[in-house]
């Protein structure tokens, strides 16, 4: 026993500081946040009372949360995840089979990822401007100039329920190159011999892709979905810099910020954050569990 401890003890000791700060800053804080969500804290002075699930039940009665934030984030996640996956996958397929200048294309598709969401929002807010007539600009201007007047849109200011989907454009701009990289890595991880074997059996190139490559991309697809979905749920700065306090693009992450730091509803903010955490955890926990297990069985 002592020998074993001597064997792994130093290692544990080395990472103990990291483990301790993570225990406090991740798990301690998450716990404390939940504790706050069960109190009645409003205003400057923290309240340490206990009001049960009141903040949560109030949220379920809260029109902003139930009629706007939750449907909004669901729509946004749907459009953003599906869109980025489709575009990213498509680009990966185009690039997979060896294209002259692949490096250039890849770099161009990927670089938006290096730009902060704040800068992204500041650029795209102008591209998605909905000024009419003389003051038409941005993408609308391009559409009008191309003779596609009828395609012009009010984007994130449109009357439609889907206004928030307009934000998937900058978000997808930022991240579909990333999805492409994931798929490309996945496709190139497929051993050439497997494809060759299929070709020898007379399979056409699309069939090779469908029967050999596609099944091996499932883990990549899963990673991509999980990553995009959790980014979608927690993204704050993109919306914040795009158009503050526009209820059409309001999300739980924004509501949490404004109600907590503008209105002083700390307990309510904590409850929203806790629900966000629950949302993210339902996606992430199975993923981590699966990933760590898959690794062990390998």
């Amino acid at each position: 026993m002592m020998r074993r401890i001597r064997a792994w003890g130093p290692g544990l000791l080395l990472i103990l500081p990291s483990l301790l700060v993570l225990a406090v800053f991740v798990y301690g804080f998450l716990g404390w946040n939940i504790r706050v969500s069960l109190s009645s804290w409003r205003g400057l002075v923290p309240a340490h009372d206990f009001v049960g699930l009141t903040n949560y039940t109030q949220l379920f009665d809260d029109v902003r949360f139930t009629h706007y934030d939750v449907p909004n984030i669901a729509l946004f996640t749907l459009v953003f995840v599906a869109g980025s996956l489709a575009v990213g996958f498509f680009m990966a397929v185009l690039l997979d089979r060896g294209v002259a200048g692949e490096h250039v294309f890849r770099s161009v598709y990927l670089f938006p990822m290096a730009i902060s969401f704040i800068a992204t929002a500041i650029i795209w807010r102008w591209l998605l401007d909905n000024g009419g007539g003389e003051s038409t600009t941005g993408i609308n201007k391009l559409l009008v100039d191309a003779g596609l007047e009828s395609w012009r849109s009010n984007w994130f200011k449109s009357e439609s329920r889907w206004a928030i989907a307009a934000i998937a454009l900058p978000a997808g701009w930022s991240l579909s190159g990333y999805v492409m990289s994931l798929f490309l890595a996945g496709m190139r991880g497929v051993p050439e011999e497997l494809r060759e074997a299929a070709r020898v059996d007379g399979a056409s190139e699309p069939k090779v892709f469908w029967h050999v490559v596609r099944p091996m991309l499932l883990p990549v697809l899963m990673s991509a979905v999980v990553i995009l979905a959790h980014i979608s749920l927690k993204t704050f700065d993109l919306f914040y810099a795009m158009d503050q306090k526009n209820i059409k693009i309001d999300t739980p992450a924004l509501y949490m910020w404004f109600t907590t730091f503008d209105g002083g509803f700390y307990a309510r903010g904590a409850a929203i954050a806790a629900l966000l955490l629950a949302g993210v955890a339902t996606v992430i926990v199975p993923y981590i569990w699966y990933a760590v297990r898959a690794e062990r069985t390998r």
Binding site: V108, I118, G177, K234, D237, L276, E295
Partner: protein, 294 residues
């Protein structure tokens, strides 16, 4: 989850060799290039608007002429906004550099232990660490706010560095764990046989082969810290605002002249773009590691 893989460089695979080409092949190829090119235009469109606007003289700038080529190139816009962004820029450098170095060093130690000096339950501990990289930060904001205020760390750069180091640990640990998992067991065993302890093995066997992982981890951390807004806006006061917060406050309202907004945005993302252009390969690996991270 074995992280550090990357799409196989530029090698075209020459897969067409020796096979019968369809007679449609040339058309397919043309269409493919056209589509690739169209996509490239889409991705570059915002950059085009950004660049031509920022390079116009302020008097020539107009929102409705967003897409027009500038008559004369001018750097006036940058001269106009740089004084307002300078402090934020400096703050971000002072914050992102130590944050990326520190979290990489700690991540290296963690990754080494979790890959090569494992203790019982190491995988479980790893899973717990990993979870930290996916949490919505909203769920730690209030406690962080209280803790940092109470300890007097709110307001300045050290507090911001601290949170970036801590919340960067999961991804750096992941990167180094994956990397060290790839170095051969014999090297470690040999060191053990020579009587080297854990620290010596880490310092003299693992670290010397780790620079590639350091590059990946540091680039990733530098980029995330540079691009972060939420922690910056929560934890700093005006004098210590990182660039993203400064940018949002300068260009965040549309009442700000269009040219200034564009020039500021360009300046603010220059460093990460530079890192991306110069060190794209490592940047890419960081991304892969994030299969990873958000």
């Amino acid at each position: 989850m074995t992280a550090v893989a990357e799409p196989g460089g530029d090698r075209g695979r020459g897969r067409d060799d020796g096979r019968i080409r369809s007679r449609w092949a040339p058309y397919v190829t043309t269409v493919r290039y056209l589509v690739l090119f169209a996509l490239a235009c889409f991705f570059l469109m915002p950059v085009y608007a950004l660049l031509v606007t920022a390079l116009k003289s302020p008097s020539e700038v107009s929102v409705v002429r967003m897409w027009q080529w500038p008559h004369t190139l001018s750097l006036d816009n940058f001269h106009l906004v740089w004084p307002k962004l300078r402090d934020g820029f400096t703050n971000s450098v002072l914050m992102a550099l130590p944050a990326s170095i520190l979290s990489s060093v700690l991540g290296a130690a963690n990754g080494f232990v979790l890959a090569k000096w494992r203790f019982p339950g190491a995988d479980f501990v790893f899973a717990l660490i990993l979870f930290g990289m996916f949490i919505p930060y909203q769920a730690v904001l209030i406690p962080m706010f209280q803790t940092m205020s109470a300890t007097g760390l709110r307001g300045g750069i050290p507090g911001l560095v601290l949170v970036h180091v801590i919340y960067g640990l999961p991804i750096t640990t992941l990167i180094f764990r994956s990397y060290f998992a790839g170095i051969s067991e014999e090297l470690i065993e040999a060191a053990k046989v020579d009587g080297a302890g854990m620290l010596r093995t880490f310092a003299f066997v693992a670290l010397p082969v780790a620079p590639p992982a350091f590059a990946v981890a540091m680039i990733w951390q530098f980029t995330s810290a540079w691009n972060d807004f939420l922690f910056g806006v929560l934890l700093t006061t005006k004098e210590r605002w990182p660039i993203t917060v400064a940018l949002n406050n300068i260009a965040g309202s549309q009442a700000v002249p269009f040219n200034e907004a564009m020039a500021s945005a360009l300046l603010a993302c220059l460093p990460t773009l530079l890192v991306y252009i110069l060190l794209g390969r490592f940047f890419m690996r960081g991304l892969m590691a994030g299969a990873l991270k958000g």
